[in-house]
């Protein structure tokens, strides 16, 4: 923080020579490095105040928030994206979760971010700035959804087209998250990986890889029952079928799926059951350790 306060004094005009100040500022910035700057800005003072105010307004103690903020700052000091950590802290406090219960959740999130960061660093395509942070965050989400690091590495190996440039981090992260949906549907990981890898090799965009996993999950009963198969889907992708042909009733921004979908190309000769939107298993779970204000 010494560097930051030094920067503050430079900016406040206490140094008489503006040229020297500028030079000093450059030296400080280079000394701190990008990661150091990120660490210094992990939790802005206004954000810290907002978190503390939110916590104290709910009858909590400010020092409990400091413990959580420290987790975010430590993550930032390691060069990890701190935004998802701060957001999770904010979510927990807003929902009235005791800090003692928020702490392990954000600790685990940081672990996933760290593992994801390691995997991204292993990639041969350098990623930086917001692009890298987005890839690390998405990959951490995939890990949180149950995809293992070994499965991510295996997926990256399978998805890498021979003789082509290495997959960018964003594509690896999207592929892994897509696999997470397939795992969530309790379908064989090896078959799911093969489908996602084939799609990645065929140049599906990151958002298409995510939607591929989602669409498979939406049809999990059909895949589990054998009405349609992941092998058939992979073959259709290998033949060059694009997402709009694979899933004519897929979700888009413009419309909700309606009516009966066509038969997905090359996957089955039987119609797929019409999709139904998800409902929560338990919309309002009892939360005995949280204060529940009386309902009007």
């Amino acid at each position: 923080m010494g560097s930051a306060s030094g920067m503050e004094s430079l900016l406040s005009g206490r140094h008489h020579s503006s040229g020297r100040a500028l030079l000093l500022a450059c030296v400080v910035a280079m000394t701190m490095g990008a990661e150091g700057l990120a660490a210094a800005q992990a939790v802005a003072p206004s954000e810290r105040e907002a978190l503390i105010q939110l916590q104290t307004s709910r009858g909590g103690r400010a020092q409990d928030v400091d413990v959580l903020i420290r987790v975010a700052e430590e993550a930032a000091a390691k060069g990890l994206p701190s935004a998802p950590v701060v957001n999770k802290i904010r979510e927990g406090i807003a929902k009235g979760v005791p800090p003692a219960r928020i702490n392990p959740v954000v600790q685990q999130l940081v672990e996933h971010l760290q593992t994801a960061d390691g995997i991204v660093r292993e990639g041969q395509v350098p990623a930086a700035g917001a692009e890298r942070a987005a890839a690390v965050t998405l990959l951490a989400e995939a890990l949180g959804a149950g995809v293992t690091p070994a499965e991510v590495r295996d997926l990256r190996r399978q998805a890498q087209p021979s003789g082509q440039p290495p997959m960018p981090a964003e594509a690896v992260a999207s592929a892994a998250r897509g696999l997470g949906f397939i795992k969530d549907a309790r379908l064989p990981v090896s078959d799911g990986s093969a489908v996602i890898a084939e799609a990645a090799r065929r140049g599906f965009r990151g958002s298409d890889l995510l939607d591929l996993g989602r669409e498979i999950k939406r049809r999990e009963r059909d895949y589990q029952s054998g009405r349609v198969t992941l092998r058939g889907l992979r073959e259709a992708i290998a033949r060059g079928d694009r997402p709009e042909r694979l899933f004519p009733d897929r979700r888009t921004n413009d419309e909700r799926p309606v009516g009966r979908p066509d038969v997905p190309t090359g996957t089955t000769d039987r119609p797929v059951r019409p999709e139904t939107p998800q409902r929560p298993e338990s919309p309002e779970r009892p939360q005995p350790d949280r204060p529940q204000p009386p309902r009007r």
Binding site: G92, K95, R251, R256, P277, Q278, R296
Partner: protein, 124 residues
């Protein structure tokens, strides 16, 4: 001749039935529109409803829903960038409620499920 009232007895009775049923009006999934994501929540007994999520740092106040024409129905349109956005509804300023229906759900880590709305990028 007296002009015909736009509110017929049948319409009025239907509105009363819907109001009496309160939360039994079919909920709707968040819908992506050109203006943003339209969130709809149905609760005839609520005094206020807001949506909090990853897009507004889980604020309980910044995105308040307004009563729509249908009794007990609350709506808001929120411009959101492409991506996945977790959310829940906040009823009466204090009570967090999982969306009754959503495209996806994700465990929030604290024992409750957040709804997820997916805003897809514009097709290339």
């Amino acid at each position: 001749m007296r002009p015909k009232s736009p509110v017929t007895p049948v319409t009025f009775a239907l509105a009363m039935v819907i109001a009496a049923c309160g939360g039994h009006v079919s909920p709707l999934m968040p819908k992506v529109t050109p203006a943003g994501v339209e969130f709809v929540f149905v609760d005839a007994t609520a005094a206020s409803v807001a949506v909090g999520g990853s897009f507004n740092q889980w604020s309980m106040t910044s995105h308040a829903l307004r009563r729509s024409g249908t009794p007990g129905t609350w709506t808001i349109v929120v411009p959101l960038p492409p991506g996945d956005h977790s959310f829940m509804f906040v009823v009466d300023g204090t009570r967090w409620v999982s969306p009754p229906i959503a495209e996806e759900y994700v465990d929030d880590g604290f024992g409750v499920r957040n709804g997820v709305v997916v805003v897809r990028p514009t097709p290339q």
